[in-house]
Chain length 341, copies 6
Amino acid sequence: MPNKIVTFGEIMLRLTPPNYLRFVQADSFDVTYGGGEANVAVSLANYGEDAYFVTKVPDNPIGQSAINHLRRYGVHTDYVVKGGERLGIYFNEIGASQRPSLVVYDRSHSAIAESSPSDFNWEKILAGAKWFHFTGITPALGDNTAQACLDAVKTAKNLGVTVSCDLNYRKKLWSTEKAGKVMTGLMEYVDVAIGNEEDAEKVFNIKAGTSDVTKGELSEEGYKDVARQLQEKFSLKGVAITLRESFSAFDNGWSALYYDGKEYYKSRRYQIHIVDRVGGGDSFGGGLIYALCNGYAPQDAVEFAVAASCLKHSIVGDFNHVTLKEVQTLAKGDASGRVQR
Amino acid sequence: MPNKIVTFGEIMLRLTPPNYLRFVQADSFDVTYGGGEANVAVSLANYGEDAYFVTKVPDNPIGQSAINHLRRYGVHTDYVVKGGERLGIYFNEIGASQRPSLVVYDRSHSAIAESSPSDFNWEKILAGAKWFHFTGITPALGDNTAQACLDAVKTAKNLGVTVSCDLNYRKKLWSTEKAGKVMTGLMEYVDVAIGNEEDAEKVFNIKAGTSDVTKGELSEEGYKDVARQLQEKFSLKGVAITLRESFSAFDNGWSALYYDGKEYYKSRRYQIHIVDRVGGGDSFGGGLIYALCNGYAPQDAVEFAVAASCLKHSIVGDFNHVTLKEVQTLAKGDASGRVQR
Amino acid sequence: MPNKIVTFGEIMLRLTPPNYLRFVQADSFDVTYGGGEANVAVSLANYGEDAYFVTKVPDNPIGQSAINHLRRYGVHTDYVVKGGERLGIYFNEIGASQRPSLVVYDRSHSAIAESSPSDFNWEKILAGAKWFHFTGITPALGDNTAQACLDAVKTAKNLGVTVSCDLNYRKKLWSTEKAGKVMTGLMEYVDVAIGNEEDAEKVFNIKAGTSDVTKGELSEEGYKDVARQLQEKFSLKGVAITLRESFSAFDNGWSALYYDGKEYYKSRRYQIHIVDRVGGGDSFGGGLIYALCNGYAPQDAVEFAVAASCLKHSIVGDFNHVTLKEVQTLAKGDASGRVQR
Amino acid sequence: MPNKIVTFGEIMLRLTPPNYLRFVQADSFDVTYGGGEANVAVSLANYGEDAYFVTKVPDNPIGQSAINHLRRYGVHTDYVVKGGERLGIYFNEIGASQRPSLVVYDRSHSAIAESSPSDFNWEKILAGAKWFHFTGITPALGDNTAQACLDAVKTAKNLGVTVSCDLNYRKKLWSTEKAGKVMTGLMEYVDVAIGNEEDAEKVFNIKAGTSDVTKGELSEEGYKDVARQLQEKFSLKGVAITLRESFSAFDNGWSALYYDGKEYYKSRRYQIHIVDRVGGGDSFGGGLIYALCNGYAPQDAVEFAVAASCLKHSIVGDFNHVTLKEVQTLAKGDASGRVQR
Amino acid sequence: MPNKIVTFGEIMLRLTPPNYLRFVQADSFDVTYGGGEANVAVSLANYGEDAYFVTKVPDNPIGQSAINHLRRYGVHTDYVVKGGERLGIYFNEIGASQRPSLVVYDRSHSAIAESSPSDFNWEKILAGAKWFHFTGITPALGDNTAQACLDAVKTAKNLGVTVSCDLNYRKKLWSTEKAGKVMTGLMEYVDVAIGNEEDAEKVFNIKAGTSDVTKGELSEEGYKDVARQLQEKFSLKGVAITLRESFSAFDNGWSALYYDGKEYYKSRRYQIHIVDRVGGGDSFGGGLIYALCNGYAPQDAVEFAVAASCLKHSIVGDFNHVTLKEVQTLAKGDASGRVQR
Amino acid sequence: MPNKIVTFGEIMLRLTPPNYLRFVQADSFDVTYGGGEANVAVSLANYGEDAYFVTKVPDNPIGQSAINHLRRYGVHTDYVVKGGERLGIYFNEIGASQRPSLVVYDRSHSAIAESSPSDFNWEKILAGAKWFHFTGITPALGDNTAQACLDAVKTAKNLGVTVSCDLNYRKKLWSTEKAGKVMTGLMEYVDVAIGNEEDAEKVFNIKAGTSDVTKGELSEEGYKDVARQLQEKFSLKGVAITLRESFSAFDNGWSALYYDGKEYYKSRRYQIHIVDRVGGGDSFGGGLIYALCNGYAPQDAVEFAVAASCLKHSIVGDFNHVTLKEVQTLAKGDASGRVQR
């Protein structure tokens, strides 16, 4: 029996030069659609949940294509509102070796960024839901979407719906001061938080040790400390911290930590050769929500979430096109990549 | 000895589904760049002129790619200003048979639309120029670009630079009232106007007979009347009217009329099987400017311009990738399409 | 308020060499999915109806992709059964000029062909439905699917659901004798029949005049006679006959006739330059069902259906990716193919 | 029982911009291989004959790819010699509507052009053969290939092998004077000649009426006269004249005339919408040789050859990928292009 | 002087999503053809042998394309039988990092699986041959192909043709019991066997030590033991065991062991970054047969075979497109990958 | 204020099979243009310099496309001469893992190779220039280009233009004896030399220690010795030696050494996963010239040049599409490849 899970945010048109071409070389762009909360919804739909994505898209063929992309992968789009000026776009150049991936955002004035809080009837949307998820990107789009988020989490609280939030700080969208203020207001209603060291510091000024992310060094103790501070500050049921070690655009270490207020649960660490890095964090969120929704023990939950996001790095596009069984197989330890016939 | 010719306007990223796919089917977009005045500049560069395109693009890889696209085809970009938020985009779905082509504009808030008139130093830009060209799209982008156009044409007049304008009315950009008012102010400085029946009526309320463009019927007398009214109203040196007969998205009739205030010059009529329709009018403008700049007799000028734009319909993208010799061969009468070895 | 409309049949993987290549030249195949009744369902979803497609697909990624393709375009797949050995495949080579399109079927042993009648709970599937549609292909797949069709139409009759059938005779699937016998049993429950001259003759031995379809000659009187005979034989509420004139793989004439037992309604005739011919008849069916479901007068219904299917010929793949508004615009007479900005 | 048929000439790498792009736009080229006599060999292999193509290609992967391309389509490459500097290349831009196709040759210094007559052991190559074919291109490559042709046709004569020659005058390869001299020497050994009006005039100064090929006008009487003059001058068993009417790069009329020294046999005329024009004449040659080798009556032979070459215009690349049955079906009169299921 | 070498088995259409896409994302499939014994034949043709592949394919364009693919790469197809229902298909999704490659088989009811032993005249096919090769897949297709294999190996034995067999156990085709029984009957006629630890255990219940292939651990002693048991059980002239260490879908270790009944010959070990994993084992078989056919010493033979198959992992498709010289260069020790100019 | 920098040499059409295909598999080639000195010019244009590339290309669309490719990326083509027979071509197969990349040259008889020294007016070309660069490839094309190089460097010396030369020995173009003689004559005018161990030995018989480049072993001391010998022999202001360690076609170590006649400056070493190896050395040259032209200290210069060329290995095509800022970021130490948003 699938759970109704609702996510709320922006879905953008993603335009990517093929075959490692740089923007200036490209005569075509590969087209997909994605965004933090949409990516989480697709993960959940893939695992068999009734995932609903809430957003606003323009009433034109580009907006329709975004809806179709969600439907294709099983996400319910019943609560998507149509209207507004344009669909946000992001241009994504895939990096290689020492050349980093580039993201050029062209998301201002999007339908969701300029939506009204009244566009969304949260009583109706969250009726019967088990979980509600958003990221720090949605309230960063504007005061109106921040208000819509607040409406949503308050309604969720009233209806007994669990709320999760991926902090996801984006410096192009707002200042740390603004982020801190708005997010603090929202965190009151959040049960489970997901973030990384940078998010916690930028948004809430929570600092850990001295790890320098550009050098691929990670301090496990530091991360535990960040998780603990977050949990205490907002009385969270759980905090997950993802730990990315960046060696190059191709090679990353990837693991995570989960803290339930009592114990720390450290996942296995994967050495990943990356195909597509975008959506890696969202696939972790999707995996974690699935696991917690379905009663996984904390260690199993963080292993499932990390295995899911490990696989995401091998998949083109924002969405994590994996089945429940594929994630479970990897989480159980088969990372050999042997051909499945 | 090439002439310095300056055009001013917007260049947009054009995204087109390949192989007659509809937007909702596309998993990739073909990428080109184009816009009314940029297209004219490319035509002129192809014929050997020193064509300069003036615009503003964002200082990011997408803006750079637009510049590169112009440079690739020989247009000088020395006066392109960098800055602003974004490059305008238009999504272009290629039609087929009874299914029309679709254009979805996403051009608001572009760098050029939000540029300041002070971004452009017209004294410097037009120094030594022989011709200046703009279309009705540029002043329609905003009051600031309308002002920049006015600055440009006044400077041109002072410097003895010939000015041409393609009326190009776009209903999504402004009302007929606003268009009429702004364009009337600009036409005072224009020497040569290009348009079609719809433009003249929408912008200046100049009406001809009863031709219904959706039925592919054209009244030659009506067009002559429109040309004469335009010429008289603005004391123009020349007026060109393009005559498109739309039978389907694949099949069009194409010809033009030129009126120099004394005589009417009617071109040959081409029966075209269309590959890419966009930029057809601009390639006419580019051909006409070249011909008039280089002393062609009126009949030869309109034949050259129509042959150039006939060929454009066989070429993918906004730009008219043809050589002077290719246009001349067609204008002289060889439309057989025999293999050139 | 959308109508629930149910169609039942096979959806196949369609593999098509790109760019007019022949099979022996192809190093890649374009991938879509389609089949007579699935195509009808997509048309109806595009027009805003609640379209349900019923079939059986294998529980593997190829079957899942077929489901995703339907979902992408808005078709409900709640009643799709998973299991069986394989998804049927058809290889489709696009013809050009005097070279005909080729279809190589590889559909034997498909999940739907080897399904059991008990796989489908028609009481549940048809609950609340307004219309049920199938084609002559489904009962031709095997005795089991013929039985499932019979179950479906009987249930439909009990529930007051209108039933339509596109005769669609396929000589590779069954003999004319078998077809005649099985289809006669099913027609008892059918309200609206769709077919062409060949179908009527092959399945029911109903003959009209002397038109030779390979020569592109059509006898209007003959078709009227066929429609009348069909209507009388099965006491139908309506009979639609599509009239294709094949001049070449690129050029076809296309029109239709509708007979409601009293009057004949002849549609406009379109001269089509074909992009993709497959699904042309299905898109007529989808248009006709929509029109009849929504109370169109007979003449309007046949015009709507023919305009819809005219547009289909300009669209790649089996599915007719058009909006209600696009069909209405063409049906009202604008076939000029002018760019829609 | 297949016939051994030998053709001799150059095979080139053909590089074609995709999707109607012009050379200056292309970021990729479609790759095929072709050449007059190689194209004829592929036609014959497709019809079931034992076709051998004789040439010289460089001993590198590009030369090997040319061999593989021939083998793929059933041509025997046993007598292909390896060595020399390079494979000839031709760049082929596909025209559209009024824009002609362009061919840019880069064939100088190719392995075959710089081969030695001693590279080819004609006694061995022609042993058991029924037919030998070459075109006017091969002797035009150089004095050495002209000598190799002479060796070949003399050996053929000695061995009782029928010889055919497609005149195929190429002005970039030699002067009319040189062509006339060399070809006259070779024609002594030729049994069947193929050409068009231009060939006959350029090579042998044989003129017909006043048809202007750039205007698509053809004088049937003129062509008959050319055929008769050719037949008489070289005591030929048969002369075929192809009649192309060029209306545009997309639309051609296509037919042919065969003269056996007694009667004229005029084929049906096809109105073709062109996909790929190159190899059209060669496919006529392949069809004619097949028909004459297999005892077709003259009228049937010319109908078969014209139907074959009509189909070629619908096929991408130089080679005519059609089966014997497909040609026969069209030759018998079904040009409707109806889907073959 | 090339050796005649015959292989017998199935060739399938292989459909692969491009660019690491998953099946559910793909809108096109790359098309190649392959199968265990066909792959071996191509390897041998590449090294200059007269390789014949024996199979049955349907008499349609898909079957013809499979033949053409073999011919393109130099394999003789004289003994390919035409007929039957369909060509087997396999869908192959390329894995990446921790995501394994997937193979979805759709091979039931193929022409070869439903062929009759009488389709193959082994006396004629094997006349003059030096070597016959098959894999455990062919007898697994059905009792009829098992019988055809038995006919073939018996005839080979009579004619003094050396026989090799790659055990290649496929659990989707038959049970271990059936495999054991059938293969034991065939092994009586086999001279050289190729396998891996899993094959030996699944087919003949021959077990080695405790290596767990999903963990990438290999016990050299265990493999020697397997080789020895196989050799003794069937009195083989030679046994080759390939040793794959799977670290991820991208990274594998690759080496092999050869046992001639007296000594063990261990190859160099390659650390491979994989482009396309399928056909890796077959390319080893092709290399080994070539080496043994041409009198290589055992150590040289296993080095050649491993170098050949190492290169295969860098090549797209089932076939190993390498030259004799390329394999020899790697076998001699240059694995630096420096550009060859 | 940009510097005028002039480079002189050949630009070739580069044809590359896509997606790691081998030549024999390819049905399309990716098209770019490149050559040693053209690649350097593009690097310099990317860093903001006024880069001029001097060459001769044929007056046809292929030559024009080469010019357009240079213009697209900001290189001035004012001094490109048009004429001659053909554009040189090189076929480039991308290697993978243990399979090396292949380059098949087809550059003989190119316009530049057959140009006349009088085609180039060096007084005019070098007027106002700060730097002139060529490689050992240009004089190797023929005695005429060697003479043109001599004319150029003599003129440069007279005008006070700094001269750099990348030794770049190509064994297919000339013998070591010829190279030694010609290059010695040119080196008299050179200020800065770039090379690797192989170049120094092949051209000037300058040998270092025993490093075997095919084994990826490099002796730092040996390279220092080579640099010193080169500097002394030709009284150079600076010598740069690039140090490539080839582990496979995918994995290389990359670093460099700079010697200014007094001190040795060793760069950081990068472990690169290669996307496209061609142009790696040229991008080092472009980086070094930029740094030296702009007053970088020697250590900074070699770090900038190595960082630039490290990035080149991640970019498709010959040209190094990176910005000044991107190179500086890597040179300063951020090689983490983290996404830049």
